[in-house]
């Protein structure tokens, strides 16, 4: 199974900023992503497409730092839909995104 993140991007980042800072940033990403997913689900219950758009945009930015292109692409698709106020299939998309993020974070745990 191919990885969600790009190992060379992560290795390069780790080398660039050092292991300690990388650990801090990774922990911070985990906390941020979990918070954003929670915010996304809450926004969906009230059909707050703008908050949903901003949330998936933040996910896209955060996972982008690890070269997680499949997750980024999915987040971008969702962002464009929410921007167009299209919430069709949003529930399953959010679930899928949650799974992707969890899988990514599990992969990244290996770097700690």
């Amino acid at each position: 199974m191919s990885k969600l993140h790009n190992p060379s991007v992560v290795d390069n980042l780790k080398q660039l900023i050092g292991e300690d800072k990388f650990s801090v940033i990774l922990s911070s990403s985990r906390a941020s992503l979990e918070g954003i997913l929670s915010e996304l689900k809450t926004a969906y219950t009230s059909s707050d497409h703008e908050t949903m758009r901003r949330a998936v945009h933040s996910i896209k930015s955060s996972v982008g730092n690890y070269g997680a292109d499949p997750v980024s692409q999915k987040a971008e698709e969702m962002e464009l839909k929410y921007k167009a106020q299209d919430l069709s299939g949003a529930a399953s998309e959010i679930e899928e995104m949650e799974d992707l993020v969890q899988a990514l974070l599990t992969e990244l745990e290996a770097y700690l």
Partner: protein
Amino acid sequence: MTASILIVDDMTDSRLLLDALLSDTYRIHLAVSGQEGLDKVKQHTPDLILLDLIMPGMDGLEVCEILKHDPDTQDIPIVFITGSTDDNEKLKAYELGADDFIHKPVNAEELTTKVSKILASQTSLKEAREMSQMAQQTALIAMTNSSELGMILKFMESANEATSFEALAKHLEEITQNFGVICCFQFNYEDTCLNFGNGCVEDSLEARMITEARKAGGIIGHGKRMFFNQHYVSMLVKNMPVEDEDKCGRYKDNLSMLLSAANGIAKTIGIGQSVARQRKQLIKDTLDSTFDRTQHIMSLIRHLESSTVNVVQDARLSFEEALYSLGLTEEQENNLIGIFNSAMDKMDTVKETAVEVEDTMTMVVKVFEKLLNEDETSTPKD
């Protein structure tokens, strides 16, 4: 001095990542929202702002607009950090004054290169502004100096017509008042020493101080008091603007130049007055000599006149004695008396001419006396 960068991003991991990439080279300040970003700008005045475009609450565009409308912050370069692919948002950001964009995920090399270039151009801009301000300041000083030199030129033009030290002193007082300084002046030419201006009279404290300073020569400064000395004229300035170093230096140069010009004029006045005195003395000597000669001529005329009267009287007596002893007929006597009287009449005419000469000479003497008296009263004192 290390440049400072403010990072404004609501995403903690993005903030920390940018901090990790830049903190070895720059001083970093962090803000988690647009409002905190504005507060940190006021607090730290960073050299560059890295601003997230999409944030909850006040977004990056709003922060950018506020900063670019504030004269205190409008020159701080703003680089947007964004994961957005929306070109309209980017266009709007540029319209609001954004300097550049960096796309998420951030490429470390692109980030450091852009930051470095923007800060370098910011430094150049600051230096150019400082140079521009300096140039403006220099131009202002040059214009002021030019105005002061203009006043000195005007002084030289008008004071050059002065024919007395008093008139020259008036010109000096006028120009030094225009400079805003209080001055006393002392002129020294041959044995003449004259004092003018602001309570400076003979034996006054100012006059004595100038006399002392004159012995040292050149420019002597004692706090606000400064003495300027030239060969024929010295000046005491009582209120040099010592609190303004540039102005004081400029005044020192320009007032020195002024006194140098005044010195040349004072020399011309001195020479002119000296020549006038010599010329008057020569005229007086000539008048004295002519007066003496005229008096002598008059005494000769009077003597001649007196001698002529005596000769005529003697001749008349001798003629009458001779006439009666000759035994002439009455007709013959009358003829001889007629001839004699005719001769006497001619002698009277000569005598009258002599009297006229005497009257004329008397008038000439009176004119000489008057000229001599006038010469005595009009001899210049300065």
